[in-house]
Symmetry: C2
Subunit: 111 residues, 2 copies
């Protein structure tokens, strides 16, 4: 019987920092687990990426600001954040770890 990696393993109950783990680094996409402990983006900080990112919230809750539009996420909610769409995390759950799956779409290979 093959033993498997589990997305919900090794999640500390508390952490002063968000935890980022690469689950799979594939030439096309990087699959990442993010665990947040009530953290949010620093004031005035915006993510502004040169690649598309798809996020799926799996546990906890959060709120994003995507180009001024507030987006509240509960488990199962997913959205695509397009390259160049400025976004920030305005809130994550204060009472439990918030677990995200993020798919970062690598830029196409230059031919």
């Amino acid at each position: 019987m093959k033993s498997l990696a589990n997305l919900f393993a090794d999640i500390p109950e508390q952490s002063s920092q968000e935890l980022f783990s690469t689950l799979l680094d594939h030439p096309h996409c990087r699959i990442e687990r993010i665990v947040s402990y009530g953290q949010s983006s620093p004031d005035e900080f915006w993510y502004n990426q040169t690649w598309d990112e798809w996020v799926l919230l799996l546990q906890g809750s959060s709120e994003l600001n995507v180009e001024g539009q507030m987006v509240k996420l509960v488990p199962g909610d997913h959205l695509l954040i397009k390259s160049g769409q400025k976004h920030r995390v305005t809130h994550t759950d204060q009472n439990q770890p918030t677990v995200w799956l993020a798919i970062h779409f690598n830029e196409p290979a230059k031919c």
Copy 2:
């Protein structure tokens, strides 16, 4: 407030067939939700794909046969099935819907 798609929405309690839904069709990868209701692959049937696939089990349970190796999955378990790795589903949960997330890595563009 933006309304979001939810992976756990629209899951019937019962279905005589597995349900396949594309959540995102991106040039690099296709993200799919699969819901199984106790189904398994037909006898002697093997998937044999020309692309890599990453699967994450989110609800229920299942067992795969990957090239003769049995792999039991519980929620959070994930694995990469490489292109050309023959595999079949030998078991899915009889008591509840089994929910999978599958990332199908598209073949690289021909340059």
